[in-house]
């Protein structure tokens, strides 16, 4: 087994554990590379079946190509897709001009919270990775959230030997992070190895590409000529900038992500 085999086996073990132990379960799918890898892993874990729904929290500010791609893949993979928007916030004109952190909270965090409440999920599977940013590096694989989706990060339960937190009071839910230990290069190497379909926004056009995908207004491109996965991997091996450097909300405050994530942000 090489390093990627080991990561894949761990992620599949985690997915199966959440399916067996967590009651009502959903998987967040943001259309980006990480959650698409997660979608692929779940197909592998359950031998081509999808025993739980996929969820897309649509902020209505997404890059239009993402929505088009979302509907295409959902059909191709035959997945049960829940699309939810915090319509009230959209109707009241919410957008990054209200302040980026306020906008993220309303359209993403609150939108997600509405899904959890409406569908009474006990577990949510998310494609976050510990190398993305500081507060994610502090995460557990099974991470508890209270009924308001808040994360008590100063008092996390121990997690060892792949024995996860599967006991929790009704109303709380568990955020499951099956690819927490993967890094950005692992993701790309795996996409290449498994030939996973991916949205073309990641590949360079006119000397620019997206390294991380989000809402149109708050996601910047990087200068790049990488048009193949090999070229992307080569570029990443030599880069000195962070993956989320193009994500404007992260730069709002020294502890922006910690603050967003404490309240339930993914």
């Amino acid at each position: 087994m090489d390093h990627l085999d080991a990561l894949e086996a761990e992620s599949i073990f985690i997915l199966r554990e959440s399916y067996k132990k967590l009651g009502k379960l959903g998987m967040l799918w943001s259309i980006g590379k990480d959650s698409t890898v997660l979608l692929w892993l779940s197909k592998k874990a359950f031998f081509g079946h999808s025993p739980f729904p996929f969820i897309h929290v649509d902020t209505k500010h997404k890059i239009p190509a993402m929505i088009e791609y979302r509907d295409k893949i959902a059909k191709e993979f035959n997945i049960d897709l829940i699309v939810h928007t915090n319509q009230e916030a959209i109707d009241s004109g919410m957008g990054p001009d209200h302040g980026r952190l306020i906008c993220c909270k309303a359209l993403k965090t609150d939108g997600l919270q509405q899904v959890v409440t409406n569908y009474e999920f006990d577990g949510l599977i998310l494609g976050i990775r510990s190398d993305e940013e500081g507060s994610r590096s502090k995460e557990r694989i099974f991470s508890e959230r209270n009924k308001d989706s808040e994360w008590d990060y100063t008092n996390q339960a121990p997690e060892l030997w792949d024995q996860f937190k599967t006991d929790f009071p009704k109303g709380n839910h568990i955020r499951v992070h099956p690819i927490l230990h993967w890094n950005e290069i692992d993701i790309w190497t795996y996409i290449q190895r498994e030939n996973i379909p991916l949205i073309d926004l990641y590949f360079a056009k006119n000397g620019e590409r997206y390294r991380s995908l989000g809402c149109a207004e708050c996601t910047g491109k990087i200068k790049s000529n990488a048009v193949t996965i090999d070229q992307i991997i080569e570029e990443l091996k030599h880069t000195t900038t962070g993956e989320r450097a193009g994500r404007a909300q992260d730069q709002e405050d020294s502890y922006a992500m910690q603050k967003l994530r404490k309240d339930g942000y993914m």
Binding site: M1, L4, A9, D131, G134, D186
Partner: protein, 569 residues
């Protein structure tokens, strides 16, 4: 190719403020593993908070961590050398966050144990050393940091080295090297230090490359715990991760504990390229059987020879992280691979203060951060191996309420199927006692020795042995057990009540403690001072003031006294 590179997970442990995060932060900085902006961000934060620049801030991402200058929760970061990639895990050193340290260390294959040269070996240096031994981490390198604060003094370094070595030796932990460094100044971290020219060994980075990856799980006996059974289509797939050994299509297999045998019909896969006839340790797989039984999560598949142990009683070494103490008689949940079953402690063989290796005998509970040797009984039989033979199937966690509160490793089974300690019980309340044990003077050994009696549970109405070879309590007496906060009343030779100490009032009768020593009480007032004094703990002052060994006992001579130390029949 990137994907064929080896990845090793290492953890940095040690006492608070001895510089774990600084060692890692500097290592990342020196190996140019930090994204652009990371150092600038830390510098900006240092400026904003008016504090000096700290490499540690690179890891301590939480605001609370940076403002207080301590690591609260574990972090992992990646860097690489020419040899391989590393995931380095930063574990908190503060005793309050031991559970987070354990969470971080449990996934590591090797460890750096960091000690402050100026402060020397502290409580957590030792406790973390002990935890490493319980986690089965054998590859350890001790790093003596802040050598600049002791002027790079070789003698002081040697003192720390020999003291720590003596401690770790008792735990069967044998460090591969002891390295003097200054992490903040970068001495001996990635490049050899001129200031430490008396040291000829490797730098920290070189030492990391000398660690090797754990191998050999494939060569062990097959252990495939069933994680789930899927019936999404016409296949009935047994899913799970192979914890040890390997499995082939056509193999005859045994399913424990139900003890049924069948053959492997197929190994299933989602995509054609993954289709194989052999799978081995570490893989998450799905198989089908030739015969269809009712299978369930928790059963363990092995080959017919070399099956796992199936038992409901075993000896363990545990570490306790719970807020509530780990107590005898209470029901807990044990999770061992995919098995989950109710369990209880039947005997505390030893409770150990991990920072001193001091032991408490006759303990009735383990407190937060204690380690202990306990005998556990599960409600149903479970499958396992001794930890020394198979780490994955020889370790478990204990769940108390909603949280994992303890972890442990299995040292062996208990031969007898019935282990009973002597106790008085009323409904669910149980008071463990030793007052019917016999004491004799061993002429050859020149020592007083205790002989445990056969374990018996006395219930309300049962006759008790108030007259022994070495004691006589009369037919009416009270047993006050402050360690369990309970009192038992014996009237006319029978147990009539077990009640809380708080509900008990002084009686003018024979009064003994749970070990059968007379208690010097003559009034209700004495009773409350006795209880007050106990709060300080038992020591010689307390014992000599309140207890009288031979008040109701005699010590006879015996040629030989065979001590029995286990509660076994």
């Amino acid at each position: 190719m990137e994907n064929t590179r080896e990845v090793l997970r290492i953890v940095a442990v040690g006492h608070v403020d001895h510089g774990k995060s600084t060692v890692i932060g500097r290592l990342l900085y020196d190996t140019k593993s930090l994204p652009e902006g990371a150092i600038d961000k830390v510098k900006r934060i240092a400026k904003e908070t008016g504090k000096p620049f700290e490499y540690a801030y690179l890891l301590d991402a939480f605001e609370e961590e940076q403002k207080q200058g301590i690591t609260i929760d574990t972090t992992s970061l990646q860097f690489h050398t020419d040899k391989r990639d590393y995931v380095i895990i930063d574990a908190p050193g503060h005793v309050e966050f031991l559970k987070n340290m354990i969470t971080g260390a449990a996934s590591a294959e090797a460890a750096l144990l960091i000690i402050d040269a100026k402060e020397g070996i502290q409580e957590q240096s030792k406790r973390h050393g002990y935890i490493l031994s319980l986690l089965g981490i054998k590859q350890v390198c001790v790093v003596v940091n802040k050598m600049d604060l002791i002027d790079y003094n070789q003698e002081k370094f040697n003192v720390i080295k020999s003291q720590m070595n003596a401690f770790l030796k008792n735990l069967n932990v044998h460090p591969m090297s002891y390295i003097p460094i200054s992490a903040f100044l970068g001495e001996n971290l990635t490049t050899k230090s001129e200031k430490l020219s008396w040291y000829s060994g490797e730098t920290v980075l070189e030492a990391l490359d000398l660690f090797s990856q754990e191998e050999g799980l494939e060569e062990k006996s097959l252990r495939f715990p069933i994680q789930d059974v899927y019936k999404f289509d016409n296949r009935r797939i047994i899913a799970g991760r192979i914890e040890a050994g390997s499995l082939n299509v056509g193999d005859e297999i045994l399913i424990s504990p139900s003890n049924r045998t069948t053959k492997v019909k197929s190994i299933e896969a989602f995509v054609e390229k993954d289709r194989v006839d052999t799978v081995s340790a570490g893989m998450s797989v799905g198989i089908t059987f030739e015969d269809e039984f009712f299978n369930k999560r928790g059963e363990v598949i092995s080959h017919i020879k070399n099956a796992p142990i199936v038992a409901d009683l075993f000896k363990t070494n545990i570490f306790w992280m719970g807020k509530n103490n780990f107590v005898k008689g209470k029901k807990y949940k044990i999770k061992l691979v995919t098995q989950e079953v109710e369990c209880e402690i039947v005997a505390f063989n030893k409770v150990i203060d991990a920072s001193t290796l001091g032991t408490y005998v006759d303990a009735l509970e383990a407190k937060t951060n204690d380690v202990a040797e306990v005998t556990i009984r599960t409600k149903e039989k479970i499958c396992f191996d001794k930890f020394a033979e198979n780490q994955n199937t020889g370790r478990f966690v204990i769940v108390d309420g909603y949280d994992v509160c303890g972890g442990g490793i299995i040292s062996g089974t208990v031969e007898s199927t019935e282990v009973i300690e002597t106790s008085f019980s009323k409904d669910e309340v149980k008071l463990p006692i030793n007052c019917f044990d016999e004491y004799y003077f061993d002429i050859k050994a020149l020592a007083i020795k205790r002989k445990l009696i056969k374990g018996t549970q006395y219930k309300i109405g049962d006759n008790v042995p108030f007259l022994g070879e070495s004691y006589e309590y009369t037919k009416d007496f009270d047993v006050i057990a402050l360690n369990a906060s309970l009192v038992a009343k014996i009237r006319n030779g029978k147990l009539i009540d077990v009640l809380a100490v708080a509900d008990y009032s002084y009686q003018n009768l024979v009064i003994i403690n749970e070990k059968g020593f007379g208690i010097n009480l003559t009034s209700e007032k004495d009773l409350s001072s006795y209880i007050d004094d106990y709060k300080e703990g038992i020591n010689e002052i307390f014992a000599n003031k309140w207890l009288d060994f031979i008040k109701y006992r005699i010590i006879e001579f015996r040629d030989i006294v065979e001590e029995i130390l286990e509660y076994e029949i």
